[in-house]
């Protein structure tokens, strides 16, 4: 690109973008400010912006009043298992659909793709009934098992495995490698960009999932982080500092994870178009 001087339109552009990104940040700032206020201060001086006497009272209530660490652990555990499961099943099935021939393959793949178009609202009622028939209501596996296989993941991995030359796989077979061995040491390393994108997205959407855990988890001990916030909002609806402290505790880890994996995330987004 040509080097230009700082002209007026460019300065205006930078100012507009800075102002706009500042506006994007306001909800986070408001959340932080309220979380450090005492409840008395929020109710008495509702018009002041900055906390006069910063306090950790809200955070204290969050941790002491509810099994917050438990919820955090629940979210972490289930999201990690879902991510590992999805990565494994998607890459394995993607490899098979890309490089093997068997009867019914085409139809099966079309069916897998077709399920992508079905909104969650259609399947959530029958899935709830299946989960309750399996006696998994209020069990953490209710939010794991249905998400172990992802149609999109299979589709994505198939696309990427198709780019691997067949000769490479044949050469391994002639060297005497077993099929599963080829999958582990040849296929997986070749599709790591797709895998890392799929992994990050799967983790994030499992972590942030609200509707499905809301349906199948009612016991306090079994809840996940997105439900926790709503729990605080309904139990402490007058104590904004508690609600906002919970919000801070829930959002900060996700934002940190994002900032660390940002590059893979943005790359994955443009590469796959997952939403």
């Amino acid at each position: 690109m040509r080097k230009k001087q700082w002209d007026i339109p460019y300065i205006v552009l930078i100012c507009v973008l800075s102002a706009a990104s500042l506006i994007m940040f306001v909800p986070y700032l408001w959340m932080l400010l309220l979380s450090f206020k005492s409840n008395v201060e929020i109710l008495r001086d509702s018009t002041s912006l900055l906390p006069k006497k910063p306090t950790l009272q809200g955070y204290h209530t969050v941790v002491s009043d509810a099994p917050f660490m438990r919820w955090f652990f629940n979210s972490l555990l289930t999201s990690a298992i879902v991510t590992a499961g999805t990565l494994f099943s998607s890459s394995l099935a993607g490899y098979i659909f890309a490089k093997f021939t068997f009867r019914g393959k085409k139809i099966l793949f079309v069916v897998i793709l077709a399920t992508l178009m079905v909104p969650f609202q259609v399947v959530m009622i029958p899935t709830y009934l299946i989960i309750s028939k399996l006696h998994l209501i209020n069990n953490l596996s209710a939010i794991v098992v249905p998400y172990l296989v992802s149609s999109f993941g299979i589709y994505l991995c198939k696309q990427f495995v198709e780019g691997i030359p067949r000769d490479l796989i044949e050469a391994c077979r002639i060297d005497g490698a077993r099929e599963f061995r080829i999958y582990l040491s040849v296929i997986i390393p070749q599709i790591t960009p797709a895998m890392s994108a799929l992994g990050i997205f799967t983790f994030m959407s499992a972590w942030n999932n609200y509707l499905w855990p809301l349906i199948v988890l009612n016991e306090e001990q079994k809840m996940t982080v997105p439900l926790a916030l709503v729990f605080f909002n309904s139990h402490h609806s007058v104590n904004y500092n508690v609600v906002m402290s919970a919000a801070v505790l829930i959002m900060i880890p996700v934002l940190i994870i994002f900032l660390i994996f940002q590059r893979q995330f943005i790359k994955g987004l443009t590469m796959t178009g997952i939403k």
Partner: protein
Amino acid sequence: MKNERHFQQQVSEMRFVSVSLSPIIAIFLIFAIVPIVWGLVLMFYNYSPLDAHSPFIGFGNFKRMLHDDLFLKSFGNTFKFVLMAIPGNLVLTLALAIGINRVRSRFWRNTFRTLFFLPTIAPLSGSAVVWTVMLRQNDGLFNLILDRLGMPEVNWLSDPQMAMISIVMMTLWADIGYNIVIFMAGLDSIPQMFYEAAELDGAGRWQLFRHITMPLLSRTSVFVVIMTCISYFQMFPQFQIMTNGGPSNGTRVLALDIFDNAFSYMNMGYASSIAFVLLLIILAITLVQIRLGRSQWEY
């Protein structure tokens, strides 16, 4: 010898395929195919898990829908939401993407993109709670600002007209980062030489946008509009958390109507038939995408 080896190879391949694919297909069947089929069957029944009997009522649920004011209102509200949010999203994200792409320093380009993208990462339920507090009538941030500016306060979530606008604002905040990233990638893929050639011919900024950016970005735009439409038609957390459909059902949307019918009133058959309506809407949008996708040009 060679044939035997080939045969062995085929046997081991088949074994690999069947052993590794069966569990995957089994989960896929139980949690994807069976629910779809079951959902399609359920809509012809008056099914409730509380009742011992669930009579087959044919198209009864659909007849009931036509006279159900709550459903009709939800149907209208869903379209209202999408029709308000999509243009807002499109204009904002395209303008911001073009703006950010003009930033000359790579570092600041990435920083701006990150700042707009952050809300996309946060749990939607959390963002909805934070916004609910910001929009509170007496001590919410929005009314504090209006108060300082000497303007009358607004009943953001309790006025039926305003509530939908509030949720649209929240959704735009929570969601624009995604489309900004897609648009920025689309803009990057337009060859720079097109602009240089047009500039040599004396084209102005607006002409460059009108005759190069817009047509060459149309594929990306179609993708963005369709994907955003599909996700907006199914939006749920902010509607449930911020207003729970109120005030006077002004923000009751199909996703919420389905959830309430299924899990609050336990009318699962009826909820399934409403979910089917949502499915039809999404299928229609997908068909539009397939049609448009076919007619677009490549460069």
